[in-house]
Point group: C2
Chain length 307, copies 2
């Protein structure tokens, strides 16, 4: 069976006129690199979860996206990251929140899934687990970028809390994949909201909200205004529509993102893949950094709505 | 419209022969007190969420349950608590995790829902928000009880991590209600697992997993082995079956708890109420502390399976 992968690098009010050609080219190149990394892992027969992690790690390491290096700053001028992963074959899952010193939050989420008896670990406890598992520990400054600090200073002065998506700089990253054995997986990684306080956690590390995978229905990774995605249980709702209402992936994803979320006022989108390798990437924002390699092996990389 | 309320005080391997008559009487009395507290709030016309909070606070203040006072100890001999609440009329929600110094975690979850722009706050950040909102701050020792410390020392020596439910002392508390206006709400509060490490968080604070409410379908609060409840998105799955497959509350709750969770090996149960005031309280464990006041005003308090 041919592998399939789809990724996102965040969604938001992205206008073509405001994205400089040079930066646009950088984004397209980074998305293509992420797809290639994930696909090559899948293409040598590794499980879907490994393809998801490989694709996400490219975006975590890129300063362009709000995950890993280049994550947005909290009110306290630090970076705090969340991530989750789920395997569709066995419904196993791993998630972390409030991570400040572990280089790859998505890799940590995978090891929580594989090596712990738990699903969700938070804060310093999650980092203690990471150290015991041999993870590389880095200074928080490892994740810092000047332009994200400027972004914080600007919004902190205004007393606002911003989704990365509210600016023309975008956000959360994620991937979904079907491997050569037909198994699905989904993963999501994020730095959250600029100027966030109070240990705010969005949908990204929450199984059912930001991430869900089930071989019988679909794998989903979400990006957008997390509070709405939590309240609408977005990722699982797409699977539930397929499972209980017999909807196709395309219709289920459309209904949840374009109808339900839009009615609630929740901006964002998802990438999703089903067991047949069908891909859906709906979003109700002006743009979503996204890309996929389908069952034909064809690669697409897109940013704006009209392309 | 007559108010309806249902509560749980945890589920597990509870054998009638192992529960001493005096302790059993204490549990039944505490459950009745919780029901009365929630119902009297509902009966004077207050919203469902207030009834849920009032019922849960009685169990948080009681040393009998694994929430608030009497919460289980972590590996580090401290108490860390999680809670969440959701309102079925507007799908608003609030949740907190890793709380160590706020007297009523469920009240904090409600204020996160009402007063913040966020859904989920964790750790010291959540407590900073609580202080700003005027919450009473207490020493962690406020929550400590000798018998929970003994329970920790016993299992820590054995190197085990215990759900409260694995012992004959039980756990997590929760409530669901329909108010006189016909609106639904659900809430859950817990101390988590004895000897837990690494900032482990279970399903209790996760919207969709441990708590969910939607006027069109149902309100659900779960208790049990949280990792399975997260992976199965238990609370929302019951609502999704009603919404998309047209199942009754009774059938949906039964299918999720007695079929799906049992197949996965996930022990526990739920309390749930629908818009018509129907109540369902299925569990696949030997017992579940539970009680309800139905549309007829009749009160039931139960512990074991066969009663």
């Amino acid at each position: 069976m041919k592998p399939v992968i789809a990724i996102h690098g965040g969604a938001g009010t992205l206008k073509r006129s405001r994205l400089k050609p040079e930066l646009e080219a950088q984004f397209r190149s980074a998305l293509a690199e992420s797809l290639t990394a994930g696909y090559s892992v899948l293409n040598r027969g590794e499980p879907a979860q490994n393809g998801v992690v490989a694709a996400i790690q490219v975006m975590e390491e890129s300063a362009l996206f709000n995950a890993g290096v280049g994550s947005v700053f909290t009110h306290a001028e630090t970076v705090e990251m969340d991530a989750s992963i789920m395997s569709g074959a066995d419904h196993c899952a791993g998630a972390v929140a409030g991570i400040a010193h572990i280089r790859s939050p998505i890799a940590l989420a995978q090891v929580v899934m594989q090596e712990s008896e738990h699903v969700f670990l938070i804060g310093s406890g999650a980092e203690e687990f990471a150290r015991e598992q041999g993870f590389e520990v880095v200074q928080n400054s490892y994740f810092h970028t000047d332009w994200r600090r400027q972004q914080l200073l600007k919004v902190r002065d205004q007393g606002r809390v911003l989704l990365d998506h509210d600016s023309d700089k975008f956000g959360t990253v994620g991937a979904v994949a079907r491997d050569m054995a037909g198994n699905l997986a989904a993963g999501t990684s994020t730095g959250g909201m600029t100027n966030k306080r109070y240990g705010r956690v969005g949908d990204s590390p929450l199984i059912g909200a930001g991430t869900y995978a089930d071989n019988a229905t679909c794998a989903v990774s979400a990006t957008g205004h997390g509070e709405y995605f939590i309240r609408a249980v977005v990722a699982y709702d797409i699977a539930a529509r397929m499972r209980y209402a017999g909807e196709t992936l395309e219709r289920a994803a459309h209904q949840v993102v374009m109808e339900r979320l839009t009615q609630m006022g929740g901006e964002g989108g998802v990438v999703a893949v089903d067991a047949q390798g069908c891909i859906s990437m709906p979003f109700n924002s002006e743009g979503m950094y996204r890309g996929c390699i389908d069952t034909q092996g064809d690669t697409r990389v897109r940013i704006f709505s009209a392309e």
